[in-house]
């Protein structure tokens, strides 16, 4: 057993607690806890902490920036069956670097990014699972398709159809970011709206809309109750950020 200083974050213990809470929230919502996958958001976390999380059993890791993530991935390439999720804003000139390095991209926020990822995936000859990021709260600072007003949902249909039809992209659901500092009621409304949007798309755009990537450290239990299948949790697992 590694020696630990008194200040050291115990990732295994944190993980256990998070998993217990995930399970409880799922059962409260009469859902199968296995439907909910935990992604440990490792942005600004160093290699040692990621290894510790891996040792504790985590296989899915989320990163926000390709520039930070890719060197870390190279240093961790010995870890079997590790899956990297891109969960941050994507600059179009960086799309080409995402394709061989990420198992899933959660943060496609415009058609241009989808088209580029499709092209690069084709070059690599492998399909890329992706989610479409939607701005449910209508905050101007948020990325993604503006779906705050459900009267306008049908407007996104043609573009989403176009993305679903792009070769080498496997659209498998939606992602959203909850507004910062929102109340429990507001959070619940954001998450349930994304679920309802998913149900709407299931009717109007043929394809797979199963996944809902929503819920972070402060709100993941509410997200589970509202149907989240992918949680992006950083602080509750890793503690404060340490990366230089």
């Amino acid at each position: 057993m590694a020696r630990e200083g008194p200040h050291k974050v115990n990732i295994a213990q944190n993980l256990e607690e998070v998993q217990d809470r995930i399970r409880a929230a799922a059962l409260r919502a009469e859902r199968d806890p296995d439907e909910v996958r935990l992604i440990a958001v490792s942005k600004l976390q160093n290699i040692a902490k990621i290894r510790e999380a891996y040792a504790a059993g985590i296989r899915d890791f989320g990163e926000n920036r390709a520039l930070e993530a890719i060197p870390k991935q190279k240093q961790l390439s010995d870890l079997q069956e590790i899956r990297w999720h891109m969960v941050g804003h994507i600059q179009s000139r960086k799309t080409r670097y995402l394709v061989p390095n990420f198992s899933m991209v959660h943060s496609i926020d415009r058609l241009k990014i989808a088209k580029r990822l499709s092209r690069h995936s084709k070059e690599h000859g492998q399909n890329l699972p992706v989610l479409l990021e939607c701005n449910v709260s209508g905050e101007e600072t948020k990325e993604g398709w503006d779906v705050a007003d459900r009267e306008t949902w049908s407007r996104v249909v043609p573009e989403f159809k176009e993305i679903v039809d792009l070769p080498y992209l496997d659209v498998c659901g939606l992602m959203t970011m909850a507004p910062f500092g929102a109340s429990v009621d507001e959070l619940r409304s954001v998450f349930s709206t994304l679920r309802e949007l998913r149900d709407f798309l299931s009717e109007s755009v043929p394809g797979n809309w199963e996944e809902l990537s929503m819920g972070m450290t402060d709100d993941y239990e509410i997200a589970i109750e509202e149907g989240a299948t992918l949680l992006r949790i950083g602080r509750a697992i890793f503690g404060p950020r340490t990366y230089e």
């Binding site: 520039l67 890719i70 060197p71 991935q73 190279k74 080409r96 670097y97």
Partner: protein
């Protein structure tokens, strides 16, 4: 000066890039077969010189450096910040538009052409990756050096702190007078505060410092080990082609970087 003469050719080398794992060279204009105004080792195919002479000159450079000419990878340089990740020599395929070429594969010779713009050599001895950047006033306004370092990081996992950079012969801040519109272009692209430090006003004329601009952008991207050649193309016409110094009637000199197997 960091020059080496081989046969009747004369090459510039970066001292900090003196590694047995790579071949690096920037060819001066000596020892080629082109007549004035391209005399004599011109490698530019779009400056009026004959294709035959340009090819002969390129062959001569490769042969002199003990490099196989079929390993050459060159691009159509368009003053952009576009990146090409090179996986094999170009051979007969058409050149791609780019001003940053990078690779981590051995037996490829990255090859670029210059006459005043800044040749930037990048090498990471840890990740075994190389790159050349062609950066003039337009490329620098588009942050080409920074984008090159980021590309090396994202493509090959390069840690910028391990990178060794060389800033080659190019037009110096004393010689490079530019118009107000160039300054405006920089301001639009990278903001006024940063831009203003790259320009100097002397005798009511505006001058652009490509060297400090390049160095700053490399440092901003995390590069610590940077060598500046301090050689001005426009004031050393005996060695270098200078678009400005020769008022457009000139050739292009070659820059080569190669990762050995």
């Amino acid at each position: 000066m960091p020059f080496k003469r081989i046969n009747n050719l004369k090459f510039f080398y970066f001292k900090n890039l003196d590694y047995p794992e790579i071949t690096q060279a920037i060819a001066t204009r000596h020892g080629g077969s082109s007549p004035a105004p391209w005399a004599s080792l011109n490698v530019g195919g779009t400056v009026g010189d004959s294709t035959g002479r340009v090819n002969t000159n390129i062959q001569k450079i490769f042969n002199t450096l003990n490099l196989d000419p079929s390993t050459k990878y060159d691009v159509w340089q368009i003053h952009s910040s576009k990146v090409q990740i090179v996986e094999k020599p170009r051979e007969s395929s058409p050149p791609i538009q780019a001003d940053i070429i990078i690779t981590n594969r051995p037996h490829i010779t990255l090859f670029m052409r210059f006459a005043d713009c800044v040749p930037i050599f990048l090498y990471d001895p840890v990740a075994h990756a190389i790159g050349i950047v062609h950066a003039g006033r337009e490329g620098l306004a588009k942050r080409a050096p920074t984008i090159a370092v980021e590309a090396l990081t994202m493509a090959f996992g390069v840690d910028p702190r391990n990178l060794i950079a060389g800033i080659g012969p190019s037009i110096c801040p004393e010689c490079y007078e530019v118009g107000e519109e160039i300054y405006q272009n920089f301001v639009e692209e990278i903001g006024e505060e940063v831009s203003s430090s790259y320009f100097q006003f002397r005798d009511s004329r505006l001058y652009l410092d490509l060297w400090s601009c390049t160095k700053f952008q490399l440092q901003d991207a995390g590069v610590k080990k940077i060598e500046l050649s301090n050689i001005c193309t426009a004031t050393n016409l005996q060695d270098w082609y200078s678009h400005r110094g020769e008022m457009g009637k000139t050739g292009r000199f070659a820059a080569l970087l190669h990762l050995k197997g």
